[in-house]
């Protein structure tokens, strides 16, 4: 590991209140949970920050529960638990599917939904799912609580709207409209790969589509949805998608591949739909 662990400081709060107070007193404290993204930075010697707030012991932030029509997933729920949770599998099977494909089993045992959101990678596999589900991010600070739609919470390339002193407490997911839920991740290999393209969709009377790894942020494809909702052809939908995304060439793939595969995924989801 290229980061000296002895220089680092870890604050371990006993309660959510204590955590929020610590954060209010020192906004430079970096909240961490499963630390799976953190270790990638630390291993490369590119760790941001020296002082960390360990949220992992705050089990009240790990609940998965239903409040009427609202599915609430605590920020500390791991992908392993999300993949197995009956509530998630019944209400939002595409999130359970995404959770099963994020990293390997060891990662899934530590990585949390809140962490995946906070890291705000354009390739984050949970984000297109949450966008299709029109999820809200519940934010808490010593000042109180607020909610933001997931699409506005992710404010730019690896940027979020998290304010000083705030943590992600939970994700709230309203009941989805009628339709088939579809998810597909395309990586360099069959498992444990970073997405080249990842797409989530609701195939029904009110189509919804979101896609990752094809722009600086994961995107909800509103114009493509409008074409589909208006009964447009798949060719027209492919064209609309092309106009909405801005893929690039990088270490993992090419812009041309990402565009065509995103179009093919769209077509495979909505063909005959």
């Amino acid at each position: 590991m290229r980061t000296a662990a002895s220089d680092l400081e870890l604050v371990r709060p006993d309660s959510l209140e204590e955590a929020l107070c610590a954060l209010a007193a020192d906004p430079a404290l970096r909240p961490i949970a499963g630390a799976t993204d953190l270790f990638v930075e630390a291993n490369a010697g590119a760790l941001r920050g020296r002082r960390f707030l360990d949220l992992w012991p705050l089990r009240e932030l790990a609940r998965i529960e239903a409040n009427g029509d609202m599915l609430s997933i605590g920020a500390l729920a791991t992908f392993a638990r999300i993949a197995r949770a009956e509530l998630v599998r019944a209400r939002l099977p595409l999130l359970a599917e995404a959770a099963r494909q994020i990293g390997g089993l060891q990662i899934q045992n530590r990585a949390t939904l809140g962490g995946n959101i906070a890291n705000a990678s354009p390739a984050a596999d949970s984000l297109p799912v949450l966008m299709v589900a029109e999820a809200a991010v519940v934010l808490q600070s010593a000042r109180g609580e607020r909610r933001l739609p997931i699409a506005s919470f992710i404010s730019g390339y690896r940027q979020t709207a998290l304010a000083d002193g705030e943590i992600i407490a939970a994700i709230e997911i309203p009941l989805l409209p009628e339709g088939a839920q579809r998810f597909r991740k395309v990586g360099a290999r069959a498992a444990q790969a970073i997405s080249k393209v990842v797409m989530a969709a609701l195939v029904g009377p009110v189509p919804r589509v979101a896609v990752g790894s094809v722009a600086p942020v994961p995107l909800r494809l509103r114009r493509t949805e409008a074409v589909l909702a208006a009964g447009g052809s798949l060719a027209e939908a492919r064209q609309a998608l092309q106009e909405e995304i801005s893929p690039i060439d990088d270490l993992r793939s090419t812009a041309a591949y990402r565009l065509r595969v995103a179009q093919n995924l769209l077509e495979s989801f909505f063909a005959g739909g």
């Binding site: 291993n43 290999r189 065509r260 995924l265």
Partner: protein
């Protein structure tokens, strides 16, 4: 049989499974320092100034000026410095070694290097610096082409591949007895020994090299440990303390050797009935910035470039050229995977042109016993190219599936391959390997420098001795690999250990058995005292090699194999998904069938990675994806069911008929995949066949 042919338990197995095996990074010595290598960030240029305040911060700093001997890593051409002295020829070139008592301090060390950067040469096809050129000539290609009905041309390209042993490179250097002792993760202790004597200016007796438990090599620990051991030794001698130098994965991937990229061009004359009349083959390999082992890699590549096919008129030209990239080096297969990929992909193009199926074309041309290779070597009774081909085709219903699949998105592809066992040409004679066998109260102890890398050498060698002495396998021990205690049995490379070193040990054991007569080991020791039998390699009778003209017996013999890959192309993502891989290998005798099967499975999977996934991305001469997250090797979910078949056509000069095994399995999967893609409707001629390239191949054809 006492032991040979049985799947004996690995001698190193229990410690590895229980986690008690001690790798370099598990070892510590009193007062030990930790070291790190400061490397160039440019690919080509001069170092104008190096500024740091590390000594004041408690670091030991080693530069080229601290080298007591010659600033060279001795190998073939002696052109690679141990530490760059003013001139940088590739990115990641070692400049300084810094060492500190606290490991965590290493990455805090700040060194400013001022360069005068020059434009690097990164394209091998534009290089005019040739490290080694080889030519193979047989018959008269002009006549051969004149006799052809058709001439088929093709160009095939391969890229780098990373060995990706589980344990990265690492050593500990301990100052001892006025010299230095190295404990290292390595394949070839005597290579390290020779290199250290040169760079440290020490006599042989002052340098000792001990192999630590080694977590895989695949060729990647053949030459590089000489470099890293020299660095640790210099820091140890300067500080007077033991020094540990262990790379992390990122450094290991960025700085150490890879498989050579290659461009192979074929021009082949054939008759309409599918007989090859002439071959003209040009092989270009990118060696990187220094010679290292490239002369031998290009030689093996050229010698395997024809594929295992009859042809009276052949011209092969091979060149390994310089570029400003980290030197490429040994990797399982050693030049053959590149040229056999080209040969086998080209065979399918020839079949296509002649409108015959790939199996029939190969059946007509595959070597039979008594045929001659491009160097004029007459193949012995163990030449089983046709047997492995027929077995693989029959098991898979190759012809039927190949006809039904065409253009369906499903594909089946075949490759027939061969691999020369042991060192090339007169290499084994020059090595003059020695092995020793010591009588113990129960059985015998083996003394060799052959290393256990996970491949099973320290299990199979005792099996050969047990069988010869007619005692149980458990009665045979193997001494630690330590240059202070074992003879030089040559490097553990080139699929040579079982066949060559095993053969020497078999002769040692035969003599021991004769000396014992009717006595038990205990009785013998009591009556006659200690017994150690040492023997040296002996060339098989009648074998000749002309190095100047590349004529004669290029290898003792050849192992043969045939792969059939069945795959599907995902129409949405263009991913090629292997559905089944059949591997038929004939390597004379499976001394330990379970280990042999493991080697075939492992080599096949590594070959599938080479074929489909593994891609080194370079930016300005530096590896940009030097992380496991971005350099994808196959996971279990990427591996289809493997059907492994072992045939045993004995080689009369190998122990119990055995030939080399562990490299051959990686020669075949890549061409079989490319040929299966062709059958599925996708025309690719370069590796790896990523979905991006498959998409291009499809969109080009529609």
């Amino acid at each position: 049989m006492y032991s040979v042919g049985h799947s004996e338990e690995r001698k190193d197995g229990v410690a590895k499974v229980r986690g008690t095996a001690r790798y370099v990074d598990d070892m510590t010595f009193p007062g030990m320092l930790h070291a790190r290598t400061i490397r160039s960030t440019i690919a080509c240029g001069e170092v104008l100034a190096v500024r740091h305040a590390l000594e004041e911060q408690g670091f030991t700093v080693v530069t080229a000026r601290d080298i007591p001997g010659e600033n060279v890593i001795a190998l073939i051409a002696d052109d690679q410095p141990c530490l760059a002295d003013g001139v940088v020829r590739h990115a990641e070139e070692p400049l300084l070694i810094v060492a500190h008592p606290q490991r965590a301090a290493l990455w805090q060390a700040r060194v400013d290097v001022e360069y005068h950067a020059r434009a690097p040469l990164l394209d091998a096809e534009r290089s005019s610096t040739i490290f080694k050129e080889v030519q193979i000539d047989k018959g008269d290609p002009g006549r051969g082409f004149a006799a052809a009905d058709v001439v088929v041309e093709g160009e095939y390209r391969t890229s780098w591949q990373e060995q990706l042993y589980i344990e990265p490179n690492g050593v500990i250097a301990v100052p001892e007895n006025g010299g230095v002792t190295i404990h290292g993760s390595l394949q070839c202790p005597y290579y390290v020994h020779a290199a250290l004597c040169r760079v440290l200016g020490l006599a042989g007796g002052k340098v000792r090299v001990v192999q630590a438990v080694t977590g895989g090599g695949f060729g990647g620990k053949e030459e590089y440990p000489s470099m890293i051991a020299a660095h640790a030794a210099l820091a140890a001698l300067k500080s007077g303390r033991p020094v540990k130098l262990v790379y992390d994965r990122m450094e290991d991937m960025a700085a150490t050797t890879k498989r050579h990229p290659a461009v192979v061009r074929h021009r082949t004359g054939v008759t309409w009935d599918g007989r090859i009349t002439a071959m003209d083959i040009d092989v270009l390999m990118d060696a990187g910035a220094y010679t290292t082992l490239s002369p031998v890699v290009i030689s093996r590549g050229a010698l395997h470039a024809t594929g295992p096919y009859r042809c009276d008129h052949v011209h092969v030209r091979g060149r390994a050229v310089m570029t400003n990239t980290p030197p490429n080096g040994a990797f399982r297969g050693f030049g053959a995977p590149q040229t056999e990929f080209a040969a086998e992909a080209h065979m399918d193009r020839i079949a296509e042109r002649l409108a015959i199926d790939p199996l029939t074309l190969r059946e007509r041309n595959a070597w039979r016993p008594g045929d001659t290779t491009a160097t004029g070597q007459t193949l012995g009774a163990d030449c089983s190219a046709l047997d492995v081909l027929c077995e693989a085709a029959l098991r898979t219903d190759f012809q039927g599936k190949w006809r039904r699949n065409r253009g369906s998105g499903r594909g089946i592809g075949l490759s027939l391959f061969f691999h020369g066992a042991g060192f090339t040409g007169a290499g084994e004679e020059r090595l003059a390997s020695r092995a020793a066998l010591e009588l113990t109260a129960f059985g015998a102890r083996i003394h060799v420098s052959s290393t256990e890398l996970g491949q099973g050498a320290h299990t199979v060698l005792p099996q050969i001795v047990a069988e010869t002495l007619r005692v149980p396998y458990e009665y045979i021990e193997i001494a630690p690999v330590d240059t202070a205690g074992v003879p030089d049995s040559g490097p553990t490379v080139a699929s040579r250990t079982s066949m060559i070193v095993g053969g020497i040990l078999q002769r040692c054991a035969e003599e021991m058995r004769d000396r014992l007569g009717s006595l038990s080991p205990e009785e013998y020791l009591e009556l006659h005292g200690p017994l150690v039998i040492t023997k040296e390699y002996e060339r098989p009778p009648g074998s000749v090699w002309d190095e100047e003209h590349y004529r004669g017996d290029a290898y003792g013999t050849y192992t043969f194999g045939c792969n059939v890959v069945e795959l599907e192309v995902d129409p949405v993502t263009y991913e090629a998904r292997p559905r089944r891989l059949t591997a038929v290998l004939d390597f004379g005798k499976a001394l330990n069938p379970a280990l042999a099967k493991g080697q075939i499975e492992g080599g096949s999977v590594q070959g599938l990675g080479y074929a489909l996934l593994e891609e080194v991305v370079h930016k300005e001469g530096r590896m940009a994806n030097n992380q496991l997250a971005n350099y994808a090797i196959p996971t279990t979910l990427d591996v289809p069911p493997l059907d492994v078949v072992i045939l045993e056509t004995p080689y009369r000069h190998g122990p119990f008929g055995a030939k080399g095994l562990v490299e051959a399995p990686i020669d075949g999967p890549a061409p079989a995949v490319i040929n299966a893609l062709r059958n599925a409707g996708y025309d690719l001629r370069s590796l790896p066949a990523t979905p991006e390239k498959i998409m291009e191949a499809r969109c080009g054809s529609t």
